[in-house]
Symmetry: C2
């Protein structure tokens, strides 16, 4: 059986929303975001609550923009990288809506859109929210060092995006961005153990999923206006291009870009190898990419959500980093 | 729109498997499990690897029992309660199969079966694995105290089950247990902050999902041979019965049981309020309940997977415990 899932009923993007923190709101995409908070505290008492509030706001904004019949989607698919996905579970408490928690690390935006699209396509729900979040401060605290420690970051390290995004996926609608195909990725582990180099750990997973998608759909990179990876950053993006050239005889360099490179000004913002985190591909796709698709500047885009699936504990135990890449095809 | 999802193509249980640790293998259900390890170390160097190995074994056993056409399911839905779901992500590495990571805390068995059933019902895959795990030692270390500390446990506390379970869900097949309906739960937060009393936090979520399921399907508790909650334990089970009586005018006491009470001998095994953890409802349903359904002793069973969605960190910050309950209806 093919791994590419064909969605014959063309589920579409009813709306999307992106809410971000200070650094992201000073970056090149600042005019595309729905909300740019002036302070990463988001008026909350902890970084975890701040992230959860961002996610709540993103879902709420997307729901309002979608003008749904019952004011709410029929189900929310959401996940994040905080332990036990607390950002998501606490964010959805105030919505009286069934909740399907997902874990895909930084691939969660593509993963949740894929899930929402399948549920709408199959007629199991009329509309579904797909949402995710990350926060620089909650991520540093949990995955690296407390901010107060002032730990040095490696040049290959990426900056976790403070931001949350939500899509509302609904039934076929004229003149909309729609989703004809998705692919759920396989876990790929290339034995990388350096947690300061997530791009390297995730690049092979992205390469495998892209190659499989192109093969099963009998398409070439040039058939797409953009093949957009989630958050490989500068190091991972170079590795992905090489991986596909060397192992799959496929050159995506002319149509590839990476959300981790788009979200920050790589010259003036001190973000090392670029952006990362669940929110990275989320806010870039929900704002900038959707805008470009509505304006028909892009007509065919592959979003390749990439995720590194390790935990800090298992990394300390010496285990390598398994990675995954889920793909959503957007058409206009 | 109704929240109950009707599965018109009757996805069915092709196989199920349960692998457990020492204490569970000494309990009343010992003869129903596929594998009872004599030692909770599962021949691994860490508790996390032990849990992951258990999960790998459960999926592998279920896959072998199902005699699938391509030797593998088309997708694996799995999740657990270790940080970043590492037990699941590391367990599926060796299967060359698309992976959909889920987060539903202790509701993950019902949640993953519901997901797998929807994907099979809609024709998106021919077969899907649903799997989850937990381990007493990895859970104590992460959620409570290191074992070496010898912390005292409250009478209302439950014992995390060392065990993993997997179902293989496939297309309609004669003479099988099948899944006509599922319900994805909403997040319910009753303001409970005592992490030694998860049963109390989860009981209202179970009550709300059960009441909604009965209402939307126009059925009564007596229409089912068994309404089986995941892991409310002794305290939570009493609260659930009372909650449904007092708030929903519904008495489930004659058909209710709880996996957390079934898995251990509550008189002789020192497990306080009963079993808990993702593996609890997993191993009980995959072994004992499926056996009773194959023998037609039970013909209609509701599995009500219950999950407490907090993290240790957010609990220390004083937040209350949101909970969820996903429902799978099994028919024979």
């Amino acid at each position: 059986m093919k791994n590419v899932v064909e969605l014959k009923n063309s589920p579409c993007v009813l709306s999307s929303a992106a809410c971000v923190g200070k650094t992201e709101g000073e970056g090149p995409l600042k005019d595309y975001f729905d909300v740019c908070y002036p302070d990463d505290g988001i008026n909350q008492t902890s970084w975890e609550n701040a992230e959860s509030q961002l996610l709540h706001d993103a879902i709420d904004t997307a729901v309002n923009k979608a003008s749904l019949e019952n004011n709410n989607p029929d189900i929310i698919f959401a996940g994040d990288l905080l332990n036990q996905c607390t950002s998501s579970t606490y964010a959805v408490r105030s919505f009286n809506v069934p909740f399907a928690g997902l874990f895909g690390a930084c691939s969660t935006m593509a993963f949740s859109i894929a899930m929402a699209s399948v549920f709408v396509d199959g007629g199991y729900v009329k509309s579904a929210a797909a949402a995710t979040s990350s926060h620089f401060c909650s991520a540093e605290k949990q995955f690296r060092y407390p901010l107060e420690y002032g730990g040095q970051r490696a040049p290959s390290a990426q900056r976790t995006v403070t931001g949350a995004a939500s899509f509302i996926i609904g039934e076929k609608k004229r003149n909309s961005v729609f989703i004809p195909r998705v692919l759920f990725g396989k876990v790929v582990d290339f034995g990388i153990t350096d947690t300061s180099n997530m791009g390297a750990a995730m690049a092979p997973a992205a390469g495998e999923s892209i190659a499989q998608f192109l093969k099963e759909t009998n398409t070439k990179p040039e058939d797409y206006d953009l093949i957009l990876t989630g958050d490989l950053g500068a190091v991972g993006s170079r590795l992905l291009i090489d991986y596909l050239k060397e192992r799959k005889n496929t050159d995506i360099s002319s149509v590839h870009d990476d959300c981790g490179l788009l979200i920050y000004d790589m010259d003036t913002q001190d973000v090392h190898s670029g952006g990362s985190g669940c929110g990275c591909s989320g806010v870039v796709t929900a704002s900038y990419i959707m805008k470009k698709m509505q304006e028909k500047e892009y007509k065919k885009v592959l979003l390749v959500g990439t995720g590194a699936l390790m935990s800090p504990l298992i990394s300390l135990q010496g285990e390598s980093i398994p990675a995954i890449a889920h793909i959503v095809e957007f058409n206009r």
